[in-house]
Amino acid sequence: MMLKQGIDWSDVRWEEVWKASKDTLTMLGASLLFTIILGLLLGVVLFLTSRRQLLDQPVVYWLLSLVVNILRSVPFVILMIMIMPVTKALTGTTLGVQGSIPPLVVAAAPFFARLVETSLREVDRGVIEAAQAMGASRWEIVRRVLLLEARPGLLAGITITAVTLVSYTAMSGVIGGGGLGDLALRYGYQRFQTSVMIVTVGLLIVLVQILQMAGDLMVRRFSRK
């Protein structure tokens, strides 16, 4: 019916689209920042504790690995609801931009941690040994060898994580998280305003495109092989 009449662009309230875009970018920026910090930490610890690596703590590795796997296997929407008490305690609300950041980080950090672990595994063992032979401490090896040598892989991991976060922010609209996903859901889906749906989805596509291109550019910029 609506399609027959064509798309009614007058439905689109641009100031709302603008606000929603800003919300999405804020959620993305803040959650990406915390995800990188926590994920990097977790990923490095996962790598170091794994078998035959610098710390070699199989039990610790197994436990961390289990936690990461559990968090990664729970669907995002359910995770969001599950950790609501934590969210409330941390930010004072479970709604809006603020309320959506903790679940986003809890969902994305374990994912990113695995990507970190994988790219650290790619680092040539011989280089780590050379650093050990030169008298480097474990911390120096992490900071000055591992993180340096894995940089292209880490940048690629950050890109993938950012893109994943974009789709998560859209989903957080379901529980009133705000942003473009929220807009698409409320107007596009519930009120059958196709034009709003098209605009929001279009903006999300553009955002993902930009993130991917920027990421690829960085990876290429830092590649030395």
Binding site: V127, A131, G135, A136, R144, L148, R224
Partner: protein, 343 residues
């Protein structure tokens, strides 16, 4: 060779063993090895793949901790040190690797600066030292390049510069030339010899190529199945190999002396001669036979150099009067040649 040099042990490995794994699957990579490396020498360890060379070498800086035994470098018992003490001691022990193991994300300059930064030298001192090292290994033109932009030989030069950065007493070389072509191998070997000569750094290297041993080593140990099967001055080991593994390696570079075939086909008296030093270049054989009626034919042989020492090894057939041949042989023995009759 140099008898005046005072002999001081710099590295002392005492009864070290290393096993990997436990229980039924355990592998004993090295078994009760004791070894003493003198200050200032170039010591080579040769063995086939899996003989335990890398394991042994890595025990010297405790990259691999021996299951039992003591590792002393310059009077410090490394196995007793705390982690931080060990890290400090390792700065006195440089190491280079078969696959170079450079930081791929850092430039040549930054790779060489890395150990200096670990040692917390001030920036200006680091820059100055890196410049010196770049010059030492001849890479001034390549300071800003990344390892991926260098040839294998250049990468190993970076590895050497990096290993020498903190003025170590010892340089450990794990198959340092095995990934290089013959010409580059020789260039790197002469660089190592230069470093040993000029800086007095003791070098302990492992290899599976006899050529490397012959070119630069003073002493050699042959290792097989985790044990040292033969050890001594390179010349002695080379000219008079005792163990079958050693003979294998010697035959890599010399024509193998398998005289059985000659013994069966030749009718004259067959003699094997070894000689070392300046007499190599004297007309010894000619002088020995010129006043006699004895004739000779060289059937097999090598005249070459080992590190800086010329040597020769020949199988010769003498034809003529037996008494005269005896005189010739005694004459040669008196000149310092080692003469042994095969038939």
């Amino acid at each position: 060779m140099d008898v005046c040099k005072e002999v001081i042990a710099l590295i002392e490995l005492t009864d070290i063993s290393k096993s990997y794994g436990t229980g039924a699957g355990a592998v004993e990579a090295i078994k009760h090895i004791s070894l003493s490396i003198n200050k200032g020498e170039i010591f080579g360890i040769i063995g086939h793949s899996g003989a335990g060379k890398s394991t042994l070498l890595r025990c010297v800086n405790l990259l691999e901790r021996p299951t039992t035994g003591s590792v002393k470098v310059g009077d410090v018992e490394l196995t007793q040190l705390s982690t931080t003490q060990l890290q400090r001691e390792r700065r006195r022990i440089g190491m280079i690797f078969q696959h170079f193991n450079l930081l791929s994300m850092a430039t040549v300059r930054d790779n060489i600066a890395f150990p200096l930064e670990l040692a917390k030298l001030p920036k200006s001192a680091i820059k100055q030292r890196v410049d010196e090292l770049l010059q030492l290994v001849g890479l001034e033109q390549h300071a800003g390049k990344y390892p991926a932009q260098l040839s294998g030989g250049q990468k190993q030069r970076v590895g050497i510069a990096r290993a020498l950065a903190n003025n170590p007493d010892v340089l450990l070389c794990d198959e340092a030339t095995s990934a290089l072509d013959p010409q580059t191998t020789n260039a790197i070997l002469s660089l190592l010899m230069d470093i040993n000569d000029k800086l007095g750094i003791t070098i302990l290297l492992i290899t599976h190529e006899m050529h490397v041993i012959r070119s630069i080593c003073d002493r050699v140990a042959v290792i097989d199945g985790g044990k040292i099967v033969e050890m001594g001055d390179v010349l002695d080991v080379f000219l008079k190999p005792q163990h079958s593994i050693t003979m294998d390696f010697v035959s890599q570079i010399a024509d193998s002396f398998d005289p059985r075939e000659l013994i069966n086909t030749r009718s004259g008296r067959l003699v094997k001669m070894n000689y070392v030093g300046e007499i190599t270049y004297e007309p010894l054989l000619f002088n020995a036979v010129k006043s006699t009626t004895v004739q000779f034919t060289i059937l097999q042989g090598t005249v070459s150099r080992m590190k800086n020492t010329p040597y020769g090894q020949l199988v010769i057939e003498f034809i003529g009067d037996n008494g005269e041949i005896d005189n010739v042989l005694n004459d040669l023995r008196a000149k310092g040649l080692e003469v042994g009759e095969l038939k």
